[in-house]
Symmetry: C2
Subunit: 372 residues, 2 copies
């Protein structure tokens, strides 16, 4: 695992990013601060990240001519979203280093592959079963019980591609909603809170993790992340250990987001991994204003073969997403001394669209994790 | 002064910047974070700021066709250097708001105009005289004495366009070095240290100032800025008062840098203004990592009619410029947890060229200004 070929890319090198949304844009801004050039590849001609990049490629992900051109002019390639097509990743990584690696992509793209990977790494998750037919689903419900959640294995996000099964009668409706694609049934975890760990792993295998954040959702979309999370020191240590184990097992390079469920204290095992994201993560945006080195710079450092930066947290933080019409609240946040605004330069406000976020920064309170 | 027409530019507006060096680049990065689009105008086709901008104009400052096009597609214009030609400023400001205003530019471009402006505002400076001939110089030396410094009124920076006169015999040599252009003779101030105040003034006349930094030069180029400066509370208060008075007198909008000389305690008046810069300033780079809102975001907020941000300093800081070959030290700074690297994406290392800077961030020590 150690001492594979490590290439340190000096400032002035060119970083290619697949995907031109807000994550690509914030990666580009962080990389520019370190003196790198940024090229963005994204099918959407209005990508927010295009406006802060040295060069933009507006082409489809299967356009091999454009991909070859993109690869020829960059020194390393990364991505802002986990659904990079496997063929695209293979095409690029045969030409130029691609981080995080293809294994991380394939595990994160397929919920069943992710569950199997986590099981192999002895990381607790909800009970699950692979579902290819309504018979599979009926059999799985008889074992796993209700409530449970039927999920498409691929391309689900923000609650899409999911059907909750509260009682056996819901089976046929859920199957209709999801049917036709490979699916997974998961036991519903009666969690008390969701946390996420943002961890960075370098090309030499060094790792630094940020303090876990506590996530609150609204309409299945992340609404707020609070740091520190209201969890015990034991839970925090276990969460960090899980994240480290996952990053190591994947021989991961870059920022990895790991979402976990913390159950109430009466549950047998209070911590389950829900999902991994092989990229900078919305629940890590608070690091921009509460840490010396934020998740975006860490990711750039890792993929460029630099040493990782300091992930220590100097403040408490509350990150709030500005979604859809929330955007119009920007003046109230701009006027607050305790808030830092981050807006994504998107042209149009649409319901559910992430338009920006606010990091509220507060003096660090005594560590809650000492409560145990 | 208050309530002149204030236009608040919403995120998504386009900011034009004259000049494409590192200051334009860092302004662009800060503005992008707030959701603005950036257009850069600079004659140099390799401008570092071009690589982080939505649109670039590589044209001369007297190219009215290019300037008109630039103005047509931007909502407000600012600049990263004080030597914007007066005709360029007039051409643009007749079409679109230009901040800081033309008065600030004209005062900062001409050392004699600057002295006269400061005198009118009752701000102490070194004794000075306008010099148009060697006879003027001889007469001025007889009044002001030696040591003194002969300076070209325009286009002097980093020690260029200056001649020190240590004794009357130096007069003819100094005159030859500078001659042919309007000049100014200034008494040499036996200063103990140089400080600078970075102050922001909004369109509504609100002002916030950062704590003064203490500047150390090497080969006439800024080498380091230390914050806090080792000055008394009285000196700090006076320095801030001078900066506020200058910003108000100019009806200034944006970030203003004010360099001052602090003399030893036996001097009659311990504080003199040396120079004003109507732009973000190298001695304010430490604010990027030691303050909630840095000088670049403050400047963008001010010119866009936003409220100013929080200028409070949460840490002590030492900013070190990476000049010329210093650039190659980047790996050592990248490896330090207490340092934040900022590199400018310049293609070639040249002696004296500012390639980047490092902000070393340290826990805030008890305030030195309380020593009195």
């Amino acid at each position: 695992m150690m001492n594979k070929s490590i290439t340190t890319l000096p400032p002035g090198s060119t970083i290619g990013i697949l995907g031109g949304g807000q994550l690509g844009r914030m990666l580009a801004l962080a990389a520019s601060r370190l003196g790198f050039n940024i090229h963005i590849f994204c099918p959407d001609a209005n990508s927010p990240a295009f406006k802060v990049a040295a060069k933009s490629y507006s082409a489809e992900y299967d356009d091999e001519k454009a991909l070859a051109e993109f690869a020829r002019h960059t020194d390393v390639i990364t991505y802002e979203f986990e659904n990079v097509p496997a063929d695209t990743a293979a095409f690029l990584s045969s030409r130029i280093p691609l981080y995080p690696n293809e294994q991380a992509l394939s595990v994160a793209q397929d919920r069943l592959a992710e569950r199997r990977f986590l099981a192999a790494a002895s990381i607790p998750t909800a009970a699950y079963a692979s579902i290819a037919s309504i018979e599979d689903l009926q059999e799985a419900i008889s074992k796993i019980g209700t409530p449970s959640v039927l999920k498409a294995c691929r391309l689900g996000y923000d609650g899409k591609g999911q059907a909750v099964i509260k009682k056996p009668d819901d089976i046929s409706g859920a199957w209709k909603k999801i049917s036709g694609v490979p699916a997974i049934l998961e036991a519903f975890i009666p969690f008390e809170r969701e946390i996420s760990v943002i961890i960075a792993r370098s090309q030499t295998g060094d790792m630094v993790a940020y303090d876990p954040g506590e996530n609150r959702h609204h309409n299945h979309i992340l609404d707020e992340t609070l740091v520190p999370a209201d969890i015990s020191a034991d839970t925090q240590n276990k969460a960090l250990e899980f994240a480290r184990k996952i990053a190591e097992s994947l021989e991961y390079v870059g920022i990895l987001g790991v979402e976990m469920f913390v159950c109430n204290s009466s549950a047998h095992d209070p911590l389950y991994v829900n999902e991994i994201a092989p990229r900078v993560h919305n629940s890590g945006h608070w690091t921009q204003d509460a840490c010396n080195t934020d998740q975006f710079e860490q990711h750039i450092r890792a993929i460029c073969g630099w040493p990782l930066g300091d992930a220590a947290r100097h403040s408490d933080a509350k990150m709030k997403n500005l979604i859809g019409e929330d955007f119009h609240q920007w003046p109230q946040y701009a006027a607050r001394a305790d808030c830092n605004l981050h807006l994504y330069g998107k042209l149009n406000v649409r319901p559910g669209r992430k338009m920006g976020h606010v990091n509220q920064i507060m003096p660090k309170k005594p560590d809650k994790t000492s409560r145990n």
